[in-house]
Amino acid sequence: MLTIKADEATKDYDVIIVGSGAGGGQMAFTLTLAGIKCLMLEAGRAYDPVTETPMFQRRDQAPLLGNATPDKEFGFHDATVDGGWQMEPEPYTQASDKPEEQFWWWRARMLGGRTNHWGRISLRNGPYDFKPRSRDGYGLDWPVDYHEIEPYYTKVEQLIGVYGDNHGLENTPDSPAGVLQPPPKGRAGELLAQKHGKTLGIPIVPIHRAVLTQKLDADRLPAVLFPGNNWAQKIVGDAMRARSACFWATPCGRGCSTGANYQSTTVHLPPALATGNLDIVANAHVREVLVGADGKATGVSFIDKTTGKDVQVNAKAVVLAASSGETVRIMLNSKSPLFPDGLANSSGLVGKYIMDTVGTSLQGQIPALENLPPYNEDGAGGSHFYAPWWLYKDAAKLGFPRGYHIEMGATRGMPGGGNPLPDDLGAGAYGSRYKQEARRYYGSFMGFACRGEMIPNDNCFAELDPSVTDKWGIPVLRWHWKWAEHEQRMCDHAEQTFKELIETMGGTVRGVTTARNRIEPGGKIIHEVGGAIMGSDRNTSVCNGYNQTWDVKNLFLVDGTPFPSNADKNPTLTIMAMAWRAGDYLVDQSKKGLL
């Protein structure tokens, strides 16, 4: 994908966007199509999914059969390059030695960021999810409600393409008719779980994922998204035509060279570049946001990693979309006489209230799925079904106030790379008996995972480490983490539920957890949000409902940082909806001369 060198970024830019993932990509798309000249800074390298994605590569064609290594922590074919849980040039530290009080921080260092490998699960927050404190007294409300955000959810779904359907379930919003793409057929295990889930009152329905099950309607949608703007319609229409529908092979986590799923690099950035209003500089590691004497942002200082030199770029507004942790780090490192505690931090809340998703999982072995006649279960390269949270009415008696949804792993995926026949099931089998047993059990294992809402708490935050710096001498983050009792209880409930579901399906639970080790460590689900929350009072929040910081009105945060809550719904779709809305607001404010 076309990038320019750091010393070529000399235009008179209107807006600098730091980060190229879901938030930065959406912002670039929205602003450039409104005629705003943008410079995007990406800390990682340029990346082109069209030429780099491993499509159809088999495990026997990858080192170590594609298994994870410290170099590629989600396996060899995972899209993420130059990133991971640890990156030598950019360390981070933990305030506590206790593993349960540590935060796992996943970073991608590539154009498109985490969107290249994400699971594509695209769920709308429901009405309750914007007003959690008003409902149950815990956590924090958003300064916006569902109805204000709904049109943007619809626009994002129309732009990126999301499959799924509508069920009218509580706090699980339907999309307007005709917006979603058709969901894919259920697989054997998913249909079996759906049938047995019914007897337990668990609604297992098609999930929403950003994968094209058919080509986008490029003749109709651009006019819906950009009414009256022929120029924008042409650009967006061309970008939609360049994307193919899913061909039902190759896992989405590898990325997609045909653009059949959403990643910033195939959906947001190509049309933004086509406007001629976007320049992208890769390998740009941001040191700080610069401010003028009037307290407004004037630009950004970054390290050009290709030369090691400091570079300064200027613009009329700055947008941070670097991920919660990285945006917090940049803000806290942006110290000046006007902002001695970091930029836009008069509330003292920059870095506070960081959240992840509550995760736990359980696997079962289901005899009904043994020895099934072989058939293709690759499907849409990820899950087809899930169970939205179904016990809103029972919150008072459950012992934890918020919900979780259930994701499930189907069964007959590409084999190899692991032992298909656990020793306890094979009882020492070798020879032809081993091969028969492997074939018998293949496809009979199912995993169920809890993805639940964490309530923000005072013990989960990031600050600058007082002594550790990165390769370029910039202070790094030090993490603080502590799950609350709510989240632990949610995991207890989820595990019990999965056990019942597996047993109702006639299966046996595999693997047990002890009472309190079932919750995944903080950060492990990579749904890091919060850290510069939005609110309606400048004393108790960092930005307003338009992602605009209270203290610096030409500074916008459009990644997960402004989230004051983290519903069980995966955050990416909401990040994009909020970013599009913030972009419209930025354009409007700019036209009125208010920035």
Binding site: N67, Q194, R254, L369, P373, N419, D423, G428
Partner: protein, 236 residues
Amino acid sequence: MSHDYQEPESLSAVPIMVNHLPRLPRRTVFKWFVAVATALKLGDASVFGAEPLPSVPPVSATGYGGDPRLNQAYSPGEVWPLTLNRTQRAAATALADVILPADNLGPAASEVHVIDFVDEWVSAPYAAQRLDREIMLPGLDWLDAEADKRFQRVFAELAPEQQQAICDDICFEPAAAADFKTAARFFSRFRSLAAAAYYATPPGWEAIGYVGNQPSSSYEGPPQEVLTRLGVEQTV
């Protein structure tokens, strides 16, 4: 993966647990060493001191780094050198074929070059694989020593029933005699790795019943035969 829940790409498999490999206690390694030394009739193991294991030379290669070319097909030996010697390869090839023989479900392990993947694995520069190296190399040596002790030949040259006699003693750790527990751990690990490689190949896919990795213009879901057996209906 951002982390929407996805099982490893190999959905059916118990992962090889690269990141969570139970760390082999040094005393276990030492027991290995004793077992190997005893089997090799080398006398009192203690004369060799503790570590490193003399039969496990370290690997010196480096990993593929955080940014390898992904859309490329690699072969074992291409990314780092293979390190098993001829004797070890012969034992491993024979053992893999005992575990995964040619039959009506597909070819033998050796026909799909399983041993190259095993060699790549134990030659890899990463910590998890180095632990496996400390199990596999002494294990292969033990196999030949045990074959020699019982039948005066190396494992690869034994008759099938002789190979089976040894495997029967070590194929299932819970049932193995005390003397064979360590060898049984090796066998389990070797079987996992050989199967991980075998089922990663197209003939392995056919053997296990995987159909996929091919483009299609539509996705039809399970055929009626599958739905009927499960007593479910397609609901989409």
